[in-house]
Symmetry: C2
Subunit: 360 residues, 2 copies
């Protein structure tokens, strides 16, 4: 029996992609080899990677002047790679701090001998808000503005794309990419770990505007250097082949289920249903400001934290797994990425209603 | 039909491990989730990673004062990470250059503002030799000595572990780890991309002596920083979970087939058989010095290079794939890692004999 997995990542993947991978795991395309065994330099895998890139380009409508890189090290590697690729020592960079992932990105910049300007920090609201549009001024001499469109732990999401006042906008989209259409042309760099909406862990997708290539520091490890990776089609060294293969299967599934517009409608409907269940209850609560509520990660608390363990255990027994909140905040968290169907959200709502009736 | 895949990496994997992974790819251990979907922070995956580490420790008899890290970025990331973790700006480091992978490691060090001493360079023999034991002096003020025990492209292998004169010995074992027993206590750092003898691409194993932790430069990306990774059990960020899982399955297979002593005997027998077939022929030739011949990667040329394409095509049709030599050297190359059975080597020898009879 397949469960509904509310994990924040690695997370639920479309069963269609998993079944396809399973069926050919020991014989890929009649080659007599697993996709895990084929050389990345051979035509079959080069075509597989090209398919993943072109499917991503098509779904996100990525303009021609952007390069797509398939890297390793997760989004965390980009916390260092972004400043290493875009700045020189002493440069000014700007960040928005909306929670734990923003803070890690800021720490990555601070380690690179930069003048780090934090233009907004939502600490006063315990990171339950995002800065309102136009509430911060972007320094004209900053090299880029970095933000985290969706904070996986806090469940806080920007409802708008910040105006970066002409400097490149850099976004960690790990937990929101592919959840709805975006306008890539608004960004200088988009990066995203795959393990939420795109595939397995171990693959990080970077989408970078081509004028931003070629400005890296000489000490940048080659595997994180955008220009070398762009020029080698992400094969400066052996790429994470299985992750790229699975990304292709998952992108096919996204396209087959209607593309990003349809995906966005489903995701919005899922989130609205769960928030409504929380808001209509006296037993559950979500702390996030209404205009900053995430479609992907929905934290909620029970009226009595002493019931948390029972909630998690009974949910697990009902086939609703990984609902415990992040270890740093407690409570509950339901991550409802692309692969979570409305049926899974409805099953959670039904369980929550039942649990409340028995425990309120 | 399963083929014999002579790729240099990603490479043939044991079918037992592939079949096991396939059987549970949509339902791991009765969890109702794929191993690709489970959180790395949950007990099941933490146990899975601990199993992989303990199986590796057992097979390699890794002493207690060594840490095992599961990193990303391949061995190529370590070309930067080794100097970033072990040196300060201006330090002296020592390297042996035995071919293309050594050269990349040296380039990685040169990018980090170091005094790089290349103690031996086999350029004079076109990298068909290794420096003889005791033929180079290790500077007492060097921070470490780095070498490449097996050169995947040249098919050149050290028959001994160099004496590093008391400074830490660092080895890129990507293409030789697990091929036979080694004495880990001789080394300061061992690193190896998984995609030859250990699993899929995207996972790099680092084995580091614990006194070498904590000396990194402040600019080192966290995902490459040994101490932070050791202290977080390689989960500073989301690790490449599927690669770690598959590593565990493959290590189980190594143990079940007799461990590293038996593996070494099989690998030696496979290599001896193929070298004998080459040496006993007037049609095939291997350029490598007898005392430097690799057990893992065996390059060979045909008497007439005009026959190369026909050889590759006919071999492919006979179920012997990926025999074309590295794009930088041409000719043929048979990579015969752990998962290549003697039957595969014998099938190649039979094919070579037949091809020679028809074309000599």
């Amino acid at each position: 029996m397949r469960v509904y997995n509310f994990s924040a990542g690695p997370a639920m993947l479309p069963i269609e992609a998993l079944t396809a991978a399973q069926s050919e795991l020991t014989d890929w395309g009649g080659s007599g080899m697993s996709v895990l065994e084929v050389t990345h330099r051979g035509k079959p895998f080069v075509a597989c990677a090209a398919h993943a890139e072109s499917a991503l380009r098509s779904l996100l409508a990525i303009p021609d002047n952007y390069r797509v890189l398939f890297l390793q090290g997760g989004a965390s590697a980009q916390f260092s790679a972004v400043p290493m690729n875009l700045t020189a020592s002493g440069d000014k960079v700007a960040y928005l701090n909306t929670g734990q992932w923003s803070a890690k990105a800021i720490a990555g910049a601070c380690a690179q001998d930069l003048d780090v300007a934090v233009l907004a920090d939502e600490k006063a609201t315990s990171y339950t808000t995002v800065p309102s549009e136009g509430s911060f001024a972007v320094p004209a001499d900053a090299v880029y503005l970095h933000y985290t469109p969706n904070e996986t732990i806090g469940g806080v999401e920007f409802g708008y794309v910040p105006d970066s006042a002409g400097i490149p906008l850099v976004a960690d989209m790990s937990s929101t990419i592919l959840s709805r259409p975006i306008d890539v042309s608004r960004f200088g760099v988009i990066y995203a770990g795959a393990q939420k909406n795109m595939g397995p862990s171990g693959l990080c997708v970077v989408i970078v505007r081509d004028d931003l290539l070629g400005h890296s520091r000489s000490t940048t490890p080659g595997i994180l250097e955008y220009k070398q990776m762009a020029e080698s089609d992400s094969m400066l060294n052996t790429p994470p082949t299985f992750g790229i293969y699975l990304l292709g299967l998952i992108l096919d599934w996204v396209a087959e289920t209607g593309g990003l517009a349809a995906m966005g409608e489903r995701n919005q409907a899922k989130a609205q249903a769960l928030y409504a269940a929380i808001d209509n209850s006296q037993f559950y609560a979500n702390p996030v400001a209404l205009d900053a509520r995430s479609w992907m990660n929905i934290p909620f608390t029970l009226a009595d934290p002493a019931l948390d363990k029972a909630f998690v255990a009974q949910a697990e027994a009902a086939g609703l797994t990984n609902l415990a909140g992040h270890r740093s905040v407690g409570g509950m968290r339901a991550s409802i990425y692309n692969a979570m169907p409305m049926e899974g959200v409805q099953a959670l709502i039904d369980f929550m209603t039942d649990f409340e009736q028995h425990n309120a």
